[in-house]
Symmetry: C2
């Protein structure tokens, strides 16, 4: 089996050469994040992921987590790896100095998450979920709450969860039922059942801090009556030591398709003591503040599985001898040619490569905006927030959809062996499958993009992005290498606006037109957005080649991959455009009762 | 969990209303296959599948097969179900009277396989693999071999396998190494390792007859030196009773992504006694005779998983309450609307429906051709063989690709619950995943279609089909209901020919152009072929509606599904056309060593 290598060269390309990373940090005043520090983090992070996390990825899948009397045991090695992770200080990387963090930019946390996720997604979810809890505490917690809970989370001695879903509601949080009743001491008694709680119970840390959505007794119905509570597994004593076991118990673990190494818990809250965080009835608003970060974290998953599948299938395609090239033997001394000679195998490899490298550019572009929302000038913050609001649903849904496609192509390169567990390709597919669902399904992201972000802003958020694309195209239109890319991009960029107008106009007569167009709209947007980034990569690569820099083959590969993307992937926009234009009637005309007979 | 129901109404639509099934049997002289008999088989088959096989589908997945000292135990209930299957005479359905069969048309066997596969694909592979062995014996066995082996297989007391793949070769059988050395008694000693042998070892029948590809000592290298052997697990005595245990042992079972209920065996042949079947060194030719049938059997799998996923996700979508319709509450008294009100959920349901019902039409059209190759006039046989040669790679690859897509959409309709094992949707995805691989991957089917079938016949096989489509279009162009369908179909039918010419011309200069276009060509062909069948379904349905027949809602649903298919699925052809036209260079220009750095 191939060992996963963190693609440091490509990460540096996307960060430094494409997105001017060092300048980005410098301009925001992140002096601690000097190029040397960033390099050291990349190198050390890669080592940890390759040497500690990758070897326990298959173990996690095969053993899964085990539940006994409310206690959960994680797979062999998970706990020890977490110990090392904490000792090395990784949990605190991108958190504020005043809570024990290292004060480095959040984007560095994203980069570390990519490395972790590429080698072992299930494991990465344990520290990953903590970030949601930490961000919530950082923004909405009282000083006392921060002192009690946040410091421990930043240290990594405790982990966190986000408890939203209930058996009867996931997407539709407005109908959630978990209740919070005031105790005499100002705390609340939380009662209800939460499901699908990732990292909800485990043996990797001494305490778990659940952030729980629940309703106060007098809360209005719907989404406007939801509050947010901190519910620790163990109630901390005054001195910070662990006290009484709280009334939240893991009732069972879900048996699921993949991410077996992560415990997906059913949590029963039975009058558990909770502490209100943020204003009453504003819980969902508080949550939404961090939804973008959580969704960006999931966007990463698509990229992670695309990268992992690509690396393994590339190695296999160079190694496996099967059939001769149609254009004559390429390995005449062997019994057959390596399968990478076959055009269709290359099509599968290049698709994975284009989505992995393209996805990396998109995630990093988003991560830069997160930094700007944290530390930019007021104007920069607003601009970054709006760009992020627009790009996040695209990154989340498009990269997880193409990540799943990529994982499947990786499996397919292996033929029958891909279906066999020992090669790891089928685990990669099973693990990837959840990403288009949690943190809001592709359908939900699509409604968020088209309905909330684009149409509700009267197209303004889209226009800002298409303007950016347009400016790039205008600036580069005369460049010989870039011209063919720019021509295509310009055309799609215009069509993007036209399609939006078209759907928007129809939606005024029938709101179902939004839902009918949404997923095709999102995928269309994703292909164009990645097209824009690939065109920018072409600009960088051709400049480097013209300047006669070393690593010519690296830059030529960028050009070749961009050509592949423009020739063979970008035409998918035509299908999505046609589907959108076809309108809602072909979806709505059939009565629910006549779908089957 | 929803119980799977065999879609008898839709099967009858495709068989009788679309493909004139009763007339088809009558004209071939299948007098035994009267409408009454066919109906009885449908009803009884459906009952068996719904009541016996469906309940053990999840059991098969969860328990899998267990190996101990070379013996394999199948999941609970598998053996008993097989007993009932044999007692009811199902194995003998479509085999010749002289070998104990019921002499019914092979297409009825296909129909039964669809029903079996929809309820429990893994189980269905045990009797399914026997058919390959039976067909091989029927065509190439000596009378003695037929008397000894075929009769037992037809009875179902024994099962069969096909042993092709070896660790170093699957697609590339020319390099296989298993050897066959002559014994003094005219038999052969077979030595080698075969892998991925479905139903290769189990406890469901008293004996297993392996059909094995191996090389004679003096065999020429490559595909022209492969012979076919019968290797029984137990050597039969003169009187037909079981004799000595033969030297073929199951070394292990593969751990795989899905189809856990079926034993995928590594078989070690250690001087096992085998009997040559067919002429020496012509083994691969003998195999190819039945490749079409085997591939059609796998095409069924796509359809089966699309149907199963569709039924379950439809039931869930009507039941699950989540969010309100964008166009106003549809279930005002409930906490939310059933998710089938949401356009994007309908998109996912209709996609599954269009592929399941469309796939059924395509498989049955192929099954009719199989009957005609078996019993038609010489001219009919030739015509049917050629049509089948053309349609089989399309059906196999296109229906398994769209079947996997459908299974995933079914899972997606369930949101997070789809990822959880208990709902059965993730098993459906895992089981479906193998179908695009075995019996020749999608890539191999695509080369078969474009290279061997279309280009090697100078386009003749394609022209015959497009002529059929063209004739249909011309005949129906004036019909008001059909006109929009016909216009689109006509346009694509012409483009299909143009694209073929285009690729063919380029392939003369560079044979890699075939491989570069092949999968897009195959998918394009699949979409158009299904479009033709959906247009024919429109014709039938609109005639029935015009005639004022009952079941108007059934026929209206056909029209609505066809509109959906033409509006939202058929535009995918544009993407495939563009990819094909882009040529081989964008796949071939990048050196293998520069795919990653």
């Amino acid at each position: 089996m191939t060992d996963i290598k963190i693609p440091l060269r490509d990460m540096r390309f996307a960060m430094r050469e494409l997105l001017d990373w060092d300048q980005h940090y410098a301009s925001l005043g992140y002096d601690e994040a000097s190029p040397d520090v960033v390099d050291a983090i990349l190198e050390e992070g890669a080592k940890f992921c390759e040497n500690v996390l990758a070897p326990i990825n298959a173990v996690g899948d095969q053993q899964g987590c085990t539940w006994k009397d409310g206690e959960v045991t994680t797979p062999d090695g998970f706990k020890e790896a977490y110990q090392q992770f904490v000792e090395a200080g990784w949990p605190s990387l991108a958190h504020a100095l005043e809570h024990g963090g290292q004060g480095l930019p959040q984007s560095l946390g994203t980069i570390m998450s990519e490395m972790v996720g590429t080698t072992n997604w299930s494991w990465g979810m344990y520290p990953g979920l903590s970030h949601g809890a930490m961000n919530t505490l950082e923004a909405h917690g009282t000083e006392e709450q921060k002192a009690t809970f946040l410091t421990k989370l930043v240290e990594g001695t405790w982990t966190g969860t986000m408890c939203l879903t209930e058996p009867h509601c996931g997407t539709d949080l407005g109908i959630l039922r978990t209740k919070a009743e005031p105790n005499a001491d100002g705390s609340y008694a939380i009662t209800g059942t939460k499901i699908f709680i990732s990292a909800g119970e485990h043996d990797m840390a001494e305490n778990i801090i659940h952030i729980v959505l629940a309703r106060l007794p007098d809360a209005p119905a719907g989404t406007k009556g939801i509050s947010l509570f901190i519910v620790p597994k163990f109630l901390p004593n005054e001195d910070g030591s662990l006290g009484e076991r709280n009334g939240v118990v893991c009732g069972s673990l879900e048996h699921k398709m993949g991410i077996h190494g992560n415990a997906t818990a059913v949590l029963n809250f039975d009058g558990a003591k909770g502490f209100l965080i943020g204003p009453p009835n504003k819980g969902l608003n508080c949550m939404f503040t961090f939804m973008n970060t959580a969704r960006l974290g999931t966007a990463l998953q698509g990229l992670a599985h695309a990268e992992a599948g690509f690396q393994k299938s590339l190695a296999y395609a160079k190694d496996r001898l099967q059939m001769r090239s149609l254009s004559g033997p390429k390995n005449p001394d062997g019994v057959a040619d390596p399968i990478i000679v076959h055009p269709d195998v290359r099509r599968m490899l290049l698709t994975q490569k284009a989505f992995a490298e393209g996805g990396r550019m998109l995630v990093l572009l988003c991560a830069q905006q997160v930094d700007r929302t944290n530390k930019g000038s007021e104007e920069e913050q607003k601009e970054a927030e709006e760009l992020l609001a627009f790009l996040t649903p695209i990154a989340k849904a498009f990269l997880t959809e193409t990540g799943f496609e990529s994982a499947n192509l990786g499996l397919q390169c292996f033929g029958g062996h891909g279906y066999i567990t020992e090669w790891g390709m089928e685990q990669n597919v099973r693990d990837a499958r959840i990403a288009t669902i949690y943190e809001g399904t592709t359908g939900i992201q699509a409604l968020d993009l088209l309905g909330r972000k684009v149409l509700m802003s009267q197209g303004e958020l889209l226009r800002r992005f298409t303007k950016m694309v347009h400016k790039f195209c205008q600036a580069e239109a005369e460049d010989e290498t870039l011209a063919p890319f720019v021509a295509k991009l310009q055309e799609l960029n215009k069509e993007w606006g036209d399609l939006t107008m078209h759907v928007g106009a129809k939606a005024m007569e029938n709101p179902d037109e939004v839902g009918a167009a949404s997923v095709d709209y999102l995928m269309y947007s994703g292909y164009v957005t990645l097209g824009y980034l690939w065109a920018r990569a072409v600009k960088v690569a051709s400049e480097k080649l013209a300047a006669g820099e070393s690593e010519a083959e690296f830059y030529r590969a960028k050009l070749a991959t961009a050509r592949f993307y423009f020739d063979r992937i970008l035409p998918r926009t035509a299908t999505h455009a046609a589907a959108m234009k076809s309108g809602a009637q072909n979806l709505m005309e059939l009565d629910a009762e006549y779908f089957a007979f």
